[in-house]
Every structure is written in C-alpha cells, then in structure tokens.
Symmetry: C2
Subunit: 224 residues, 2 copies
DNA sequence: TTTTTAAATTACATTTTTGTAAGAAAAGAG
DNA sequence: CTCTTTTCTTACAAAAATGTAATTTAAAAA
C-alpha cells in the first residue's frame, strides 16, 4: 500500500519541487496551500508522514509540532534553514522524529523518510494494540487511536474498554463488567457503571466513533 | 518445582487429614494453627494456593477472602459447609476462584486444586509482565508484583518504572525520563521528577523493595 | 573542611478522576 | 397508549493524582 506524505511548506517553488520528487519516488503526496489553520489541517490529512517547515506564516513550526504530538504519533520531519542550529532544536525537544536543513539534500531526505516509515511499520505494536475494527486500543499507553489521532483513557475507561474489546462482538453483561472493574471492592452502585460507560462513549465520540458500544437493554453491552 | 498449599481450617482433625492427603499427592503443605491474624498470616506464607474455610474463629472467611484479593492474586478455594448455599456465595463474589463443600470429596478437591494451579501457570502472563529481577511489572494491570502481593501504580509511577525497566541495568538520565513522561507538554519543573521518583520508591518499599532504583548523582537513575 | 550543587523530602495547592444523587429519556410490557 | 423498568445524562461532591514551593540531606568539588 502506498504511503502518503504531507508537505507543509509555504514556499511554492520548493513545495512543488518536493512534490514532484516524492511522487517520482513512489509516494502519494499532499501539500498544504494555506496556513491559517495548520494544526487541524495536518491532522485531517491522516498522512503517514509530515514534512514540516519550521518557518511558516501565522504560526511557528515548533508550535505546530508540539500541538500535533499532543494528539498524534504521525512521524514528523522538521525542516530548518541552515542558520537554525539543529542541535538547539534537538535539545528543545518538540517531538519531531527527524530534522533536515534547507536547501534540501534530496537523497538524504529520501533516506530519512524511508527510515522513519520503515521504523514505524516495524515496531508494529502487534502486541501492544488490540484491533477494535474502527479503532485501536493501545495497551501500553492506554489510549484509543484512530486516523493518527489518539485520546487518553482513565483507568476505569480503559478497563471497561479492554474488557469489551477482548470480548468483541460478544454480549457482555453489566454484572460481568462490574465484577471485572471493581472485583473485591465494596458495593458500588449500578448506576456508576452507566456513568462510566457514558464517559467512555464520550471519548470515543471525540474520535468520531459513534455507536461502537451498543446497549442491549436488560442484557448488557456489545462492542461492535 | 513443588507447589505450596496453605490450609486455613480450624478443625484440627480435618486439617491434619487434608494435610496428609495433599502431601501424599505431591504438594508442600502448610496450615495455619491460630486465627487471630489470619489475613496477614496467609499473605506471609506466599503459598501458591489457599484452601480457605468459610467458618473461622475471630473473622469470617468471606472477609478474609476479600482482604486477600485486595493485595494478592493467589488462587483461593473456599470451603463451605453444606448449609451454606454455594449459589449464594457465588453471587456475592468474594473473589474466590473455586468453592467446595464439606465434608470434602477428596478427589474433587484434588481436581480443583490441579485445575487452578495449571490455569494459573498457563496464562503465564509472559507478554504482560516484565521481569525486573526482584519483582514483576504487570503492563496490563499496571501493578508491581512480588511474593503474591501487588501494588497499583498511578500513570506517572507506571510510566517511569516502565521506562526504567525496559532499560534495566542501564543508566537513564533524568532528562530522558522527563521527555518520556511529559513529551510535548509545557515546561515542567525538574524537581517534579524527583517527587515522582520518590513516590515510586515509596510504593516499591511497601513491597519490601529497597534501593532498586539507584541514584547516580549528576547522571540519572538505574533500575538494578 | 567548607562550599556548592544535585537530589530527596515534606507539605500544600491544583487538577483530574471517580462515585453518587436526581431526574430525563428510551425501551418494553401490559 | 400508559405504566414500569432500564439506561442515560447532568451536576455535584469526594477522593486520588499530580505539580509546585520550601526545606533538608547528601554527594562531590574546592
């Protein structure tokens, strides 16, 4: 499957050169053309890698990078002009995965892109993530992931979703969930589960996941 | 390796019969002989399985069972006299793994013991637990385990310990840990890490784990 | 030894998570 | 349709987790 790279660079000439080069090398390429809503635009593209210029109109590339990292793990390569000191950038730790300097050494860039994509594919997370159909549940980080976006879960939210996910497509009774969640604790109100389910559903909805936890009145819940 | 069963039963005759029978069947057997501090005594034995009579002097077996479950996963078989209704016990969910009725059908008991021990060995948690030498770090539950005791970690405590454990016996700098813990967040005081390390150490100490996180002044920390 | 600096410790304030109460909404029974 | 029951929703209070400030301790340097 072809991989999609998003170019975030305001110099039209450079942008188009890059685009041509990357397309020739077998990538699907998109490029932002306006920069008034950069963070959201980048996240919406759901690309496999972002090439992010540090000097952008309206906002700093550094800021953009940090914002993206709050909700996404997408690999980011930051592009700096020669006069920025790369060492300094590294120490500031914006969360970018790689840095390259302008003007582009196009072969080095290609190597870095391929390196990142391969690395990202390799660590693969097979053991850490449960495939829930429309989204992933990451065990290690306790987050749900969809389209390169992620949302953190609290302990209760995670525990419920984990239990539902290992029983995906099976009916799970409210009692079962309550035993799993609160095992040997004192008596806890039945409604408390409803509230916790509601909170979990709200987070799922933030990722655009509607109706993934289905209520079976009188019987329990099903993760679709 | 031989497995150790702890008998918690106040009728001396029954106790000794059981003991003989289980020893003959290849187990190491211990039995409590006083019941004034049952919960602690059981935990201290660090046995592989507990055979727990529901009618004890001083405290209820039910109470003991719930207390143990709060800090240990040790398999528990609860022993009830015929007049206790097993169904009722089940519904109350004290956290026992199996129930048997008195008088003992000794073959059924043996089957249940073997079943529990095998099950416990099988699920084995290889993928879920990191071996940290003197203790285990359970990824799924986010607890540290030692001698059948467990302590829950908060998100920060877990994240730090996880990072240390995947770098066990390697020196890890404070900056590294801070980047891993707070990645793209706003600037966070250096001392905050000290506090979090302290909290983690306190929990480790509750399990009797002293000095497992070693300070290398000016350099960082090492998980021994 | 004295001084300096890094790390530990303690107490407290803030934020987040969690449970409960009360009422609304929705599904099913009669 | 009306009544009953289950689940959902909202708001609030309690508890737990987390960060900060101030102080102490201890290691290393001078």
């Amino acid at each position: 499957m072809l991989e999609k790279i998003l170019i975030v660079e305001d110099d039209k000439k450079i942008r188009e050169e890059l685009e041509t080069f990357l397309v020739k090398n077998g990538f699907i390429v998109k490029a932002l053309e306006k920069f008034d809503n950069t963070v959201e635009d980048i996240l919406e593209e759901k690309s496999d890698l972002v090439l992010l210029d540090i000097n952008l109109p309206f906002v700093d590339g550094e800021f953009v990078c940090k914002e993206i990292r709050k909700i996404s793990d997408v690999p980011i390569i930051m592009v700096t002009s020669r006069d920025n000191d790369i060492d300094e950038l590294l120490s500031l730790n914006y969360g970018a995965d790689q840095y390259v300097t302008k003007p582009y050494n196009i072969q080095i860039l290609l190597a870095k892109i391929n390196g990142l994509l391969k690395r990202n594919k390799k660590q693969d997370k097979t053991l850490e993530e449960i495939d829930c159909g429309e989204f992933l549940l990451n065990i290690q980080e306790r987050v749900i992931k969809k389209d390169n976006k992620k949302i953190e879960l609290t302990k209760n939210e995670y525990t419920i979703l984990y239990y539902l996910s290992i029983n995906r497509k099976k009916l799970v009774s409210r009692d079962e969930i309550m035993d799993y969640l609160w095992e040997s604790e004192e008596f806890i109100d039945d409604n408390t589960l409803s509230v916790n389910i509601k909170r979990l559903r709200d987070k799922l909805e933030e990722l655009g996941l509607l109706d993934v936890i289905e209520t079976r009145r009188g019987q329990g819940y099903i993760l679709k």
